[in-house]
């Protein structure tokens, strides 16, 4: 997916962009509303992450203008104040959702997905690999004529493995990305999801391989 991140703190923007890139997303960074307008004019985006206070204005006013001009790229507001009035007002002004800083990336990911699902998908969310088609928004795996439903964590696991096929991911790394940091998770929790995904991938021409002492990777058979 292609994100436009509108955030004035250079450091935070860079870190968020790296973190989103880790998920396989492309990110452009605009430090001002002016920049954001240029980016939006030159390329289509799947989602805008919009900060509220920016050096050249209020993100909410920008949002109102965008919506008034019938430009309806989904927007998730990043609020730093977390007061209810902000939450309510951002939604009234046409934001699709909001997230409070500092945010949990698992939550951001979940919110982005929910927004895009509600908006009935933006860009093509389907991905071909080996003998299956993976649709992250629909949460389905299609093998031939058969469509298999994926639960949220199976989907996340497949997404991570698919972002760099063939690369091995450690259990610990997968746990960090699959679970929210305030959940209590045992090291073996990941095995449950690996087992389930493996079953759903049966007959797909791809294999979820266990590398003893290293982790897991997805490879074509």
């Amino acid at each position: 997916m292609r994100f436009l991140l509108v955030e004035d703190s250079e450091d935070l923007a860079r870190a968020v962009a790296s973190r989103l890139a880790m998920e396989g997303h492309g990110v452009d960074h605009a430090a001002t509303l002016e920049d954001a307008r240029h980016f939006l004019e030159s390329a289509p985006y799947d989602l805008i992450l919009l900060d509220i206070s920016l050096p050249d204005g209020d993100g909410r006013d920008f949002l109102v203008r965008e919506r008034a001009a019938r430009r309806d790229t989904p927007v998730i507001m990043m609020t730093a104040s977390a007061s209810v009035s902000d939450r309510v007002s951002t939604l009234d002004q046409g934001a699709d959702d909001y997230i409070t800083k500092p945010f949990d990336f698992a939550e951001l990911q979940a919110r982005c997905r929910a927004v895009l699902r509600r908006r009935d998908g933006a860009a093509d969310s389907r991905r071909h690999f080996a003998g299956f088609i993976f649709d992250a928004l629909a949460a389905t795996l299609t093998i031939g004529n058969e469509t298999r439903e994926l639960r949220a964590r199976e989907l996340r696991l497949l997404e991570i493995l698919l972002s760099r096929p063939g690369q091995a991911y450690s259990k610990a790394h997968l746990i960090d990305r699959l679970f929210s940091f305030d959940e209590e998770v045992s090291d073996n929790a990941i095995e449950v999801y690996v087992g389930r995904l493996r079953r759903k991938l049966e007959g797909s021409g791809a294999r979820l391989e266990t590398l003893r002492g290293v982790g897991y990777r997805l490879i074509p058979e």
Binding site: S9, D11, L12, A15, V16, S18, R19, M22, I52, S53, A80, S81, A82, S83, V84, S85, R87, V88, L91, D97, T100, K101, P102, F103, D104, F105, A106, E107, Q109, A110, R111, R113, A114, R151, A152, R153, S170, A172, H173, D176, R177, S180, F181, D182, E183, E184
Partner: protein, 465 residues
């Protein structure tokens, strides 16, 4: 005396209305007294003038009746004149006729005029005679007596009893009229005070109608004299609004400045976590990320709690649809549930459910209830949100299939108190306190109860509108 002075002292009267009535009455009394004295004085003068006219006419008539005859003078007392003089009650009349300063007839000790009276224009004066005050008139006329032209003077005196009686009568009537005016002044004073104070009352009413959170300037047509008061009031409102705006901007700015670097720390920590394989470093970084999550959650809840306390103090209920609000909050929480593969179902949210309440407070309460359910539901568990309307109450039930309750549910709502079975799940211990306070402010109630099949059910009762 001092007590009376205290009673009348207008600065001691706290009611403006009473003060106005008092002042009006005191002023009326002074006016009425003045009027009474004036009437008395004018009446006295008028009766005196009429007595003088009668006396003058009488003395002239007597003098004209004097004829010079051979034996001397012949005096023909005109009785009609005397009866006219006696008409004013029990008057006594005295007279004296002098020729060349010698009394020839009448009371020879009757006081004479200061200087000899020589013509027919009556001279009038007042003197005491035989224990009574007399009004006296005299005219003079030279007459040929014993072939000599001699001055003849006639003095006529009359007691003043009748004139005093007239003055007394007039004074009495005037006093009654004054009392009647005073009696009339009281209701008039009350009415006048009412009318004068009406604009103040209507201004107070307009201000009273303005809601507790309404900091717009008061717009109201007032008399010119109240304009400075209204101006001062609107000035105060403007200053208050500016102060509140400043505080809000300050909190917003402070939160922004703290949260932005915290976001950076958290993101960098997550990135570092993905790049390191060293188990000890990983544990440290995980702890760091968790602590940041914890601190921001606590900050949110403290702000929510402060907001709920503030809004409870200024509670202003408005009609709202609890079903729509629950739908909105459920939608906001859904991604969090989905992230954990928790199945969230809702029922009864398609039917409008009108309650009287503060939308922001209820949003905070619902969010806390649902966040709690997501946090404590079993992995890949279920949350059932249902809204029913029964016995004039809206009952929102949020049931999860999690670890249930290890502590007395009543104890759990005390601030910063967390259950003994929360394990690793982060939290500030304020969520349930917030929900309970919101419920109480809406005259509803909140309780947690264990479910038979395991898990917890949170029940929020609110009175239906």
């Amino acid at each position: 005396m001092r007590r009376l002075a205290r009673l009348v002292d207008p600065t001691r009267i706290t009611s403006l209305r009473r003060r106005l009535v008092w002042q009006f009455l005191v002023l009326s009394a002074a006016l009425v007294l003045g009027l009474f004295l004036t009437v008395g004085w004018v009446a006295d003068r008028a009766s005196r003038a009429s007595q003088d006219a009668v006396l003058g006419a009488a003395v002239t008539a007597i003098t004209e009746g004097i004829r010079s005859v051979d034996e001397g003078l012949e005096l023909d007392l005109p009785y009609a004149t005397f009866s006219m003089l006696g008409a004013m009650g029990e008057e006594r009349v005295f007279y004296a006729v002098t020729v060349g300063g010698r009394v020839v007839t009448g009371y020879d000790d009757l006081p004479g005029p200061e200087s000899p009276v020589l013509d027919m224009a009556p001279v009038l004066w007042t003197a005491d005679y035989r224990g009574a005050r007399l009004r006296l008139a005299a005219v003079g006329r030279p007459m040929l007596i014993e072939n000599r032209l001699q001055p003849v003077t006639v003095i006529l005196g009359q007691t003043r009893l009748g004139q005093a009686a007239i003055a007394r009568d007039t004074a009495r009537s005037a006093a009654w009229a004054a009392l009647a005016f005073l009696a009339l002044a009281l209701p008039v004073a009350l009415l006048a005070a009412q009318a004068v104070l009406a604009p103040i009352r209507s201004l107070a009413e307009v201000m009273g109608r303005q809601g507790p959170r309404d900091l717009r300037p008061v717009r109201h047509r007032t008399p010119r004299e109240l304009a400075p008061l209204l101006g001062a009031l609107n000035g105060l409102i403007a200053r208050l609004r500016a102060a509140l705006d400043l505080a809000e901007t300050f909190i917003f700015e402070a939160a922004h400045r703290i949260r932005t670097p915290l976001s950076l720390v958290r993101t960098e920590a997550e990135l570092a976590l993905s790049e390191t394989t060293d188990p000890a470093t990983r544990i440290r970084l995980r702890r760091m990320v968790r602590a940041i999550g914890e601190s921001s959650r606590s900050a949110n809840q403290l702000l929510d709690h402060a907001m709920v306390m503030y809004r409870t103090d200024q509670f202003a209920a408005a009609p709202l649809d609890l079903a729509a609000l629950t739908r909105a909050v459920a939608r906001a929480v859904a991604p969090l549930a989905d992230m954990r593969d928790i199945d969230m179902t809702t029922s009864g949210l398609d039917r409008p459910c009108g309650v009287q309440g503060d939308e922001r407070m209820l949003e905070i309460a619902l969010r806390n209830i649902l966040d709690n359910a997501v946090k404590y539901a079993a992995p890949e568990g279920r949350i059932e949100v249902s809204l029913v309307q029964e016995d004039g109450q809206a009952v929102l039930a949020v049931a999860d299939d999690g670890r249930g309750l290890s502590d007395d549910p009543v104890q759990l709502v005390t601030p910063f108190r967390r259950g003994g079975n929360v394990g690793d799940v982060g939290g500030s211990g304020l969520g349930l306190t917030i929900v309970t306070e919101v419920a109480a402010a809406h005259r509803g109630r909140f309780r947690l109860s264990p479910r038979k099949k395991g898990g917890t059910c949170a029940l929020l009762h609110l009175p239906l509108a």
